[in-house]
């Protein structure tokens, strides 16, 4: 921790991935590994093309703006941000500027930390714009993939109001969840759908801001955390050494390979984007009734679900917090409950076995083999006493390993508890018959030999004995001897 007062501002770019078409063109909006297949003439800026605003994107922006308690303007208004770069086919990006004209102006959102405390993040603005094409730099050449050119992009800018990397991440995770819950984006950083710019400054007291350093294009939340912490340390070190004047108002970039920030350009070299009105898009009056309709239809938000999980299902704040973090996880959980699984059981499986497995395999829950229906086979088997919870873990692992339904796995490997009384009784008698010495000692006061008998029976039954029943029978038979 720095002994200085840290101030952080965030710009989060999130691609809208769930519209049919792009923000200003009829090009298909779909993530694909195949380059240059979702491209319209507009996306490649052939001469004579014109932008057409995607109404769905405006609808989504209004929804976000409402959730962020931001002011929604009377008109949608777009500007051009002009600069030359091979990934920008038109030579300008259609965006919104200044903040007063953006689809969301001002606003705030309250965020809950894992420990239950809350903090408020103030919003500067939310605007709708378009993404650039994707450049890949190879050894001596670069390739351009226009699939991404024109994909809707929401940029959410906070004021400098955050004070730790942890809070920054908690905020970002919650915003990501909102994008997912509202059906605006998968918000998948692996697909490059989320990118952040981070502003960090340090100072001696909370009332003055230090020199702001911007770190551009940080592409995952863990990198955001690392970049913030690196920058706090770098600036603090300089300040400690009395060299704070060397902290320059500049733009740096996060370098994954060296895990450090690297100078990109100084403030004096800042690009003049020559913003001006996009003349091809008339100011669009936003119908207040349409806005109301959008606002009424805002889906259940993550914190609302969290509260429901705690109040209705009795989950701990911690578990509920983990489950709501990503919508697909919460949806998975709700599906389990809907299938009749005990909510706490479902939450336990999710928070331990399942999320652990996903993390380890680096896959999303949507790619997870054991759907709620299949998981239900396991939990039902436990509930019905068919398998023990220990056996359940075995079924879980084998099922994932062999991509076979839990019921099939249980049959295939005869994983079940033996609770047929006479069968189990026979084995108990057999084990006791073979252990006269141990019985003598047991009777003589070595009561923990009881576990020895349990072990022997388990060995004989290949672990399939129902432990409760086994204990009953052992007690009964030992008493007879």
């Amino acid at each position: 921790m720095s002994k200085y007062y840290v101030t952080i501002g965030l710009e989060m770019h999130c691609e809208g991935s769930l519209t049919n078409t792009k923000a200003f063109s009829s090009g298909k909006n779909e993530y694909t590994e195949e380059p240059n297949c979702n491209v319209s003439p507009v996306d490649m800026a052939f001469p004579g093309i014109l932008p057409v605003v995607n109404k769905k994107c405006v609808e989504q922006a209004i929804m976000l703006s409402t959730i962020l308690h931001a002011r929604i303007p009377e008109y949608m208004y777009f500007e051009r941000k002009n600069y030359y770069y091979p990934d920008l086919p038109k030579g300008y990006q259609i965006t919104q500027n200044p903040p007063e004209e953006c689809v969301g102006n001002g606003g705030y959102i309250d965020i809950e930390r894992a420990d239950g405390s809350t903090f408020r993040v103030d919003i500067d603005n939310l605007h709708l714009e378009e993404d650039a094409a994707q450049l890949t730099h190879l050894y001596d050449t670069s390739t351009i993939n226009y699939n991404r050119a024109g994909v809707p992009l929401f940029e959410l800018v906070t004021t400098p109001c955050l004070h730790s990397a942890d809070d920054a991440i908690t905020y970002l995770e919650y915003i990501r969840a909102i994008y997912q819950y509202c059906g605006i984006s998968e918000a998948d950083s692996k697909k490059g759908q989320i990118r952040c710019d981070v502003n960090v400054s340090i100072s001696d007291d909370p009332n003055t801001l230090g020199t702001k350093v911007e770190i551009k294009n940080v592409n995952s939340f863990s990198s955001v955390r690392d970049a913030i912490n690196y920058e706090i340390e770098r600036q603090s070190d300089l300040k400690d050494q009395g060299r704070y004047d060397e902290v320059e108002q500049e733009t740096r970039r996060w370098d994954e390979s060296t895990m450090s920030t690297v100078h990109m350009r100084s403030k004096v070299d800042a690009i003049d984007y020559k913003y001006f009105v996009e003349p091809n898009i008339p100011r669009i009056k936003l119908d207040p009734n349409w806005i109301k309709e959008i606002q009424v239809n805002i889906p259940e938000l993550p914190y609302e679900r969290k509260e429901k999980y705690m109040n209705e299902f009795g989950l701990s704040a911690y578990d509920a917090g983990i489950i709501i973090k990503e919508k697909p996880t919460a949806d998975y959980f709700e599906k389990c409950v809907e299938l009749g699984m005990d909510p706490k059981t479902a939450a336990n499986w999710l928070c331990t076995q399942i999320l652990g497995y996903l993390y380890q395999e680096d896959i999303s829950i949507n790619e997870f083999y054991l759907t709620p229906e299949l998981m239900n086979q396991i939990t039902t088997a436990i509930k019905d006493g068919v398998i023990s919870s220990k056996q359940a873990k075995e079924v879980f692992a084998k099922s994932l390993e062999e991509k076979e339904e839990p019921n099939t796995i249980m049959d295939k490997y005869s994983i079940k508890q033996m609770d047929n009384d006479s069968e189990l009784l026979d084995i108990v008698i057999k084990v006791l018959d073979n252990s006269p010495e141990q019985i003598k000692q047991y009777k003589g006061g070595l009561t923990n030999l009881f576990n020895y008998f349990v072990g022997q029976v388990m060995k004989e039954t290949k672990g399939q004995a129902n432990p409760v029943k086994l204990k009953e029978l052992l007690d009964q038979e030992l008493a007879k001897r």
């Binding site: 003439p41 490649m44 800026a45 052939f46 001469p47 004579g48 093309i49 014109l50 932008p51 057409v52 605003v53 051009r80 002009n82 030359y84 770069y85 091979p86 086919p89 038109k90 030579g91 300008y92 670069s142 351009i144 003049d272 020559k274 913003y275 001006f276 009105v277 003349p279 091809n280 898009i281 008339p282």
Partner: protein, 483 residues
């Protein structure tokens, strides 16, 4: 045959006096002749064939397309080296609309590079010469279209108008040039110059033809958000010569001879001729008043236009980098390649305008130049709209006279003449419908008069032009070389 109007040609086709193939053949022959003399075309479509003749007035009739309209499978250069080999894979909506009526494109016409410049001298294939006098310019930027229509290659050619690019060449070539209300014709597929001013339109030899062609080009286009539904407007059907009781105005400060200290003789004749034309209107029962507009606003027209058009142009043409289309520049980095493409590709005039555009948009200059120009634009438009409350249209002389010499030796340039030369830009500032028709000759060269009305009032503007045209002797004139 090609000196006839659309309606006349349609009659001939319907009565089997001529076939569409024959018309196309004649038009192509004429194209080569005019190419020789005037250098009017970037491309002549020698394998063009006639089409079925239906009841549609335009069916079977050849026409020309300005080279800044995107045409699928046909070279479309915008008269620029940056697109010298560019063959688009989509057709501009306006051209698609037109061609759905069965008319046949026979050539792509030269222009000032991307519509920038009013001389017809900056295109990458050279200078366009005025068919009335080959030592003179056509004006621009629709120079090739104007030359071809005036020379009788076909009854009409498309044009585009950002400042006066249809209406001034029409005047200098003795023909009709019509720029409808902004957004009446989709701009999708028109290579942009300054999007807030760019308007598609047409050059013809009579008002009737202009109405027929724009009827076919117009319509709301889902690909152009600035286009609007004009399905209730039928320009040709509703043409009427009854303009009795209409009220027109002209801008006193620009037209009044007494306002000029050094009026060139040619301009004096031009203004006198304008007044003579007004008398004809009065005979038709039209009231024409001189209206005073703040001289400061009038003086601001030209600079307002330069600032706004250059700003939009520099941004609009940022797509021309030579990466995904156009000749790839040489160099070791993308910056070098872009620079090389643009250095070689653009004429010096365009580069100068990019510099201006870039300068006025810079954060430190934007308020002083770009934002002020937007304010001035609004004030000018408001001043004219105020008059449209009382008057049906604005009527003005086009330019300071006839076409100047290509070597520019015969024209006096004087700041006090600037508003007279540039006032047509008001039509683009307001998106107003505006038409130029020929109204006589000065020193044997044609001159024009312009009628501009309020937005969406195209019918009214055309009717006034139609009636006035009928009261004069310059309808359907074909250029006769005077020297």
């Amino acid at each position: 045959m090609m000196n006839k109007t659309i309606v006349e040609l349609h009659e001939e086709l319907k009565n089997n006096k001529v076939t569409s193939d024959e018309l196309v053949k004649e038009s192509l022959e004429k194209s080569h002749e005019v190419q020789e003399k005037c250098n009017a075309f970037v491309t002549i479509l020698d394998d063009a064939k006639g089409s079925n003749v239906t009841d549609d007035l335009l069916s079977g009739i050849p026409f020309g397309i300005k080279d800044n309209y995107s045409t699928k499978g046909i070279l479309s250069t915008g008269s620029s080296n940056t697109l010298k080999d560019y063959v688009p894979f989509f057709t501009a909506t306006a051209i698609e609309n037109l061609m759905s009526h069965g008319c046949i494109p026979v050539n792509k016409t030269c222009m000032d590079e991307f519509g920038m410049g009013g001389t017809g001298t900056t295109g990458h294939t050279g200078v366009q010469k005025n068919p009335w006098d080959l030592t003179r310019m056509c004006a621009g930027s629709s120079s090739g279209s104007a030359a071809a229509v005036a020379a009788g290659v076909y009854p009409f050619a498309t044009g585009s108008d950002t400042g006066d690019s249809i209406r001034k060449p029409a005047a200098f070539c003795g023909i009709v040039g019509y720029k409808p209300t902004y957004g009446m014709i989709s701009r999708y597929g028109l290579f942009p110059f300054a999007s807030s001013l760019d308007t598609c339109g047409v050059l013809t030899r009579c008002v009737e033809d202009a109405a027929i062609v724009v009827d076919a080009m117009k319509g709301k286009d889902p690909k152009d958000m600035t286009s609007w539904d004009s399905s209730n407007i039928n320009l040709y059907k509703d043409l009427s010569k009854d303009i009795n009781g209409k009220k027109l105005f002209y801008i006193k400060e620009i037209v009044d001879k007494s306002n000029y200290k050094n009026l060139p003789e040619e301009t004096e004749k031009h203004l006198d001729n304008f007044m003579t034309t007004l008398d004809k209107l009065k005979e038709l029962g039209v009231e024409v008043d001189a209206v005073s507009i703040d001289q400061k606003l009038l003086n601001a027209i030209a600079s307002t236009y330069v600032v706004i058009s250059c700003a939009e142009a520099t941004s609009n043409m940022s797509n021309l980098t030579g990466f995904s289309f156009g000749p790839r520049g040489e160099g070791n980095s993308y910056q070098e390649q872009m620079k090389d493409h643009r250095t070689k590709g653009f004429s010096s005039l365009i580069k100068r305008r990019f510099v201006i555009g870039s300068y006025v948009l810079q954060a430190c200059n934007q308020d002083r130049y770009f934002k002020n120009a937007q304010r001035a634009r609004r004030l000018i438009v408001d001043a004219i709209k105020e008059q449209f409350k009382k008057y049906d249209a604005l009527i003005m002389p086009v330019g300071t006279g006839h076409a100047p010499k290509l070597d520019n030796t015969d024209k006096v340039t004087d700041d006090e003449l600037t508003p007279l030369d540039e006032h047509l830009q008001i039509g683009n500032f307001g998106g107003f419908p505006s038409i130029t028709i020929p109204n006589g000759f000065i020193d044997g060269l044609p001159v024009g008069i312009n009628i501009t009305g309020n937005c969406y009032d195209d019918q009214n503007v055309l009717n006034i032009a139609y009636a006035l045209e009928s009261s004069m002797d310059y309808k359907n004139q074909i250029a006769k070389e005077v020297k």
